[in-house]
Amino acid sequence: MHLKSQVNPHFFFNTLNNLYGLVEQDTEKAQQLILKLSDMMRYSIYEGQNEWVTLEDEITYLENYMDLHRMRYHKTIDIRFDVDAEDRSIKVMPLLFIIMVENAFKHGVEKLRSGAFVHIVLKATTKIIEFDIENNFDIEEPCSSKGIGLNNLKQRLELVYHNRHELEITNKPDEIYTIRLSISL
């Protein structure tokens, strides 16, 4: 249970602050975002406890997370999330992808003054899931946290998908960070 990932609490407080301001400026948009935030909280509080969730639920969770990020910054950020899944009802470990996405925002988008991007490609069949995420980052930025989240993910993958997964992390010299995860179902 303790290995399961939790979204950074600052994300919630910053999002609440944005909603606090937005409520007056654009009520409709604020309401939509409140729904997304509720969905996210419900998912991480309840579904995260389950042994399995559907791929569909995981995808929605990531979409909500990214939509809430999109509203935050003054700078423009390039977020792409391409999904190619023939059957979204396949079961996966809950909160499987969020750590990787959160890292991409934390080390990339939050640290770059401009031109930040996060590109995600998710391909799934009933036999295999492939998740690729890449983001740029500031090469001068000292890396503060030593990947507690990623180590946590590695341990969970070991437990749930023992000998059935591959996690490949590439830190390219051209300021692009890539993670590829593939899982055989």
């Binding site: 600052h10 609440l16 944005n18 301001g21 003054h74 700078k75 003054r113």
Partner: protein
């Protein structure tokens, strides 16, 4: 008569909230929106301001690193979602630390604190460009915010969930409990003389029996507060 400020925050809605709050106060003048510390450094290189609203988590240079680059920092109110850096902030002499999201009341308290704090006079904006009484503060009544000079306060009277602030020229009512009113007005020279009355010592005309004459008013002295009055008379 104005207080100049900039906002340093990478989230645009955070700017909107602060601007809206400042617009409710007289004399607050926005000089620049800065979306990261680099922009703020560029601005402050050529200009000076009285006050910075500063976020901490920003690209390249975080809020505290930014502060350390300023040879003569103006007053700073930190606005952040991070609770854990408050201590470090106070070491850097910030005036207040606001946790997002924050209410207007909390914001107002921070602004009042900024310009009633006399312990760091060197940081206060130069007198030649504005005539703000450094000790003046804002109080909210209904939808208005009234700027008050501490000298004008004669006494404060409790009235249920409200307090009456009796000034030389007028009386204003604020929705604040008596027990916490001193969080909003500077307490220098104020003496509590009754369960429901705090008076400004310097405006006392006379003390007679269990009554104090102050301005054109008469205020009762509470039994429990007799000793405090006796001390005044010595």
């Amino acid at each position: 008569m104005s207080i100049t400020y900039i906002i340093v925050d990478d989230e645009s809605v955070a700017h909107d909230i602060i601007k809206k709050y400042c617009a409710m106060l007289p004399g607050m003048l926005l000089m620049q929106d800065c979306y990261d510390a680099i922009e703020a450094i560029e601005y402050l290189h050529k200009n000076s301001v009285d006050l910075i609203f500063l976020d901490l988590n920003m690209p390249k240079l975080n809020g505290f690193e930014f502060l350390k680059t300023l040879p003569h920092p103006p007053k700073v109110i930190v606005t952040t979602a991070y609770k854990e850096y408050a201590l470090e902030g106070y070491e850097l002499n910030i005036v207040d630390y606001l946790l997002k999201p924050f209410s207007f009341e909390r914001f107002l308290k921070a602004v009042n604190k900024t310009f009633t704090d006399t312990s760091k006079p060197s940081n206060f904006p130069s007198k030649d460009v504005n005539e703000v009484d450094p000790k003046s503060f804002f109080l909210r009544t209904n939808n208005k915010h009234i700027q008050i000079v501490p000298d004008d306060v004669l006494f404060v009277e409790a009235s249920g969930n409200y307090c009456k602030i009796v000034l030389k020229e007028e009386t204003i009512t604020v929705r604040e409990k008596f027990s916490s009113i001193l969080d909003y007005i500077p307490s220098d020279g104020l003496v509590q003389v009754h369960r429901s009355f705090i008076v400004a010592r310097k405006h006392i005309r006379n003390i007679e029996g269990n009554q104090i004459g102050i301005g054109n008013y008469t205020v009762p002295i509470g039994k429990l507060f007799k000793a405090a009055i006796d001390r005044l008379l010595k």
